[in-house]
């Protein structure tokens, strides 16, 4: 537990002591602003719903950008060898890094709160769905982070990690867009695995335990696979 926190702190430090975090967050906020406010003014309604349409889309690029270095870079420079020969479990390494990335994501989300506040000054804003939306964003973000960490743990190359994570994230986001072409039995299964499907439920303001459970188990699975990828050096 202490080791997990030490690793989390170190990775947080390396995000915020370098320009990485600031650049990524700035670009993220810029895109949120542009993509959200341009249609917002033409809509003429005080609703934050569009915000929760824009951010999941941006996650596809944003999350791989913050996870790509986590393990790939340590493999590339060899520091993973020092880390893995300390009395630290590989699981602690993975979770520490996950928490660091989640911290960065949370900071970015926190900085988007001025948007709904701005909306609330223009009209009556229903805060229920906004709260649900943010809970959903954290849960969905965790799932994407686990994909990103998995991608980062299978390669030494950050760019490769980014591309793999981008591709997988896109696949899981778009899963329910292909439903029309498929037989209904299959489509309901696919829909279940679509991250956007569960997110839509939550962002309507209904935090259902089934959706929460889905995100949590999705994240756990991703992190578990990352753990196996990290440990594969032992049995290869």
């Amino acid at each position: 537990m202490k080791s997990t926190l030490a690793i989390c702190r170190r990775d947080m430090g390396s995000y915020f002591n370098s320009p990485v975090a600031y650049i990524v967050i700035t670009v993220f906020l810029l895109f949120v602003g542009v993509l959200f406010f341009v249609p917002f003014f033409s809509m003429g309604k005080a609703s934050a719903r569009e915000l929760f349409g824009v951010i999941p889309f941006l996650y596809i690029f944003f999350v791989p950008a913050i996870t790509m270095r986590l393990i790939a870079e340590e493999k590339h420079t060899g520091t993973i060898e020092v880390l893995s020969t300390m009395p630290v479990r590989d699981g602690e390494v993975i979770i520490g890094k996950f928490l660091a990335a989640l911290g960065l994501l949370a900071v970015a989300l926190l900085l988007t709160i001025p948007y709904p506040i701005a909306i609330s000054t223009m009209g009556k804003l229903d805060w229920g769905p906004v709260l649900g939306g943010y809970i959903g964003l954290i849960l969905m973000g965790s799932s994407y982070l686990s994909i990103g960490i998995l991608a980062s743990s299978v390669t030494k190359n950050q760019i490769v990690a980014f591309v793999i994570a981008l591709f997988l994230s896109m696949a899981f986001m778009l899963l329910d867009r292909f439903l029309y072409f498929l037989p209904s039995a299959l489509s309901s299964i696919l829909e279940y695995f679509s991250l956007s499907y569960h997110f839509r439920n939550i962002s309507r303001g209904v935090v259902d335990s089934r959706d929460v459970l889905f995100f949590v188990s999705f994240t756990a699975t991703g992190l578990l696979l990352s753990l196996y990828a990290l440990q594969s050096r032992r049995w290869r």
Binding site: R10, G13, S18, G78, T79, V82, T85, P87
Partner: protein, 330 residues
């Protein structure tokens, strides 16, 4: 100094990468307080062996124990007793030295109350006092290597495994690091790898020479010299009463002598020979008697032990020939 239980035991360690054997049935033991040098050409399997001993990777076959703990089954206990400096001292370049060492202390689970003390000790040992608040990425190669060493010894492990601790350093730094390692080796078990022969000669009590994944020699320097090298003598005679050609053949006829070479002309009026003998015998007495018998005037007779460099070249250059020989420590 040594006690009965070996600190490190390897039994028939093998590791293959994609069907290619990196190391092939290595067996050896290291006792407490020993400084062991792994010597071998690049790609001989030194790093692979070290990665197995630190339980970073698992062997394909065989087993290894560190302080009685199996490196595969009891990896966490193994790692608690080890300090490891991987090749090229990989470090987080964006961290400052102090933060990095504090991070390591935390992961090494050094109790809070001892942290300051152990940090201070390893910083002093490694001479890092002046660079504590600088980013690691800005440091010279020598300082980074020292940060790596500080990282490996901060928790005062009983066993230190150092992969090429002096590579890339300048001669002064090399001397400093060697002194440091010798100092550390007084109370600890140290394994270091190198392809620098001088290093082993100066630092290590015992040498294991690895070639193509196999141990081709294992023993103290004296053992190796006795078993692999044989003796080399240089004899210098006054040339007035001696015919060099006859003398050469007469010396060659001596018992135990393998080869005789004429030394290049040195002092005028002298004739010098280099005499190589079998490992078993010291030929000096026979040379002296021969000189008396023939009435040669012996000016100098010197024995030099075959140095490690020659042994190393002999073992690692001759294909197959030397590879099954093994010298056990006496």
């Amino acid at each position: 100094m040594t006690d009965a239980h070996p600190m490190i035991e390897a039994e028939g360690l093998s590791k293959s990468y994609d069907g290619l054997k990196a190391i092939d049935r290595l067996s050896f033991q290291v006792m407490r307080g020993e400084i062991l040098g792994f010597l071998g050409p690049n790609g001989a399997g030194k790093t692979t062996t070290m990665k197995i001993l630190t339980s970073y990777i698992a062997p394909s076959e065989g087993r290894a124990r560190v302080k009685g703990f199996d490196v595969v089954e009891e990896s966490l206990s193994v790692r608690r007793h080890l300090g490891y400096l991987p090749e090229n001292a990989p470090l987080y370049h964006d961290m400052i030295v102090r933060d990095y060492l504090e991070f390591v202390s935390e992961l090494r689970q050094i109790p809070m109350e001892n942290r300051k003390k152990s940090l201070k000790k390893s910083v002093e040992h490694c001479g890092l006092g002046d660079v504590m608040s600088r980013p690691i990425g800005d440091l010279s190669k020598g300082f980074r290597q020292r940060v790596g060493l500080a990282q490996a010894m901060i928790h005062e492990p009983e066993i230190l495994i150092l992969d090429e601790p002096t590579s890339g350093l300048d001669p002064n730094q090399i001397v400093e690091i060697r002194e440091l390692i010798k100092e550390l080796g007084k109370e600890r078990t140290v394994i270091l790898s190198t392809h620098n022969l001088g290093e082993v000669q100066v630092t290590c009590q015992r040498v294991i020479i690895i070639h193509k994944g196999k141990i081709v020699a294992d023993g103290t320097q004296a053992d190796l010299q006795a078993s692999q090298g044989g003796y080399r003598c240089e004899a210098l005679f006054a040339s007035e009463r001696l015919n060099p050609v006859d003398a050469e053949s007469a010396l060659r006829a001596l018992e135990g002598v393998k080869r005789v070479e004429r030394l290049p002309e040195g002092e005028s009026g002298t004739a010098g020979f280099r005499i190589l003998s079998e490992a078993s015998g010291d030929p000096r007495a026979a040379i002296f008697r021969k000189a008396v018998e023939k009435g040669w005037i012996l000016l100098e007779l010197r024995r030099e032990a075959m140095n490690l460099e020659q042994i190393f070249r002999q073992l690692t250059l001759t294909e197959g020939k030397g590879s099954e020989k093994e010298a056990k420590p006496s």
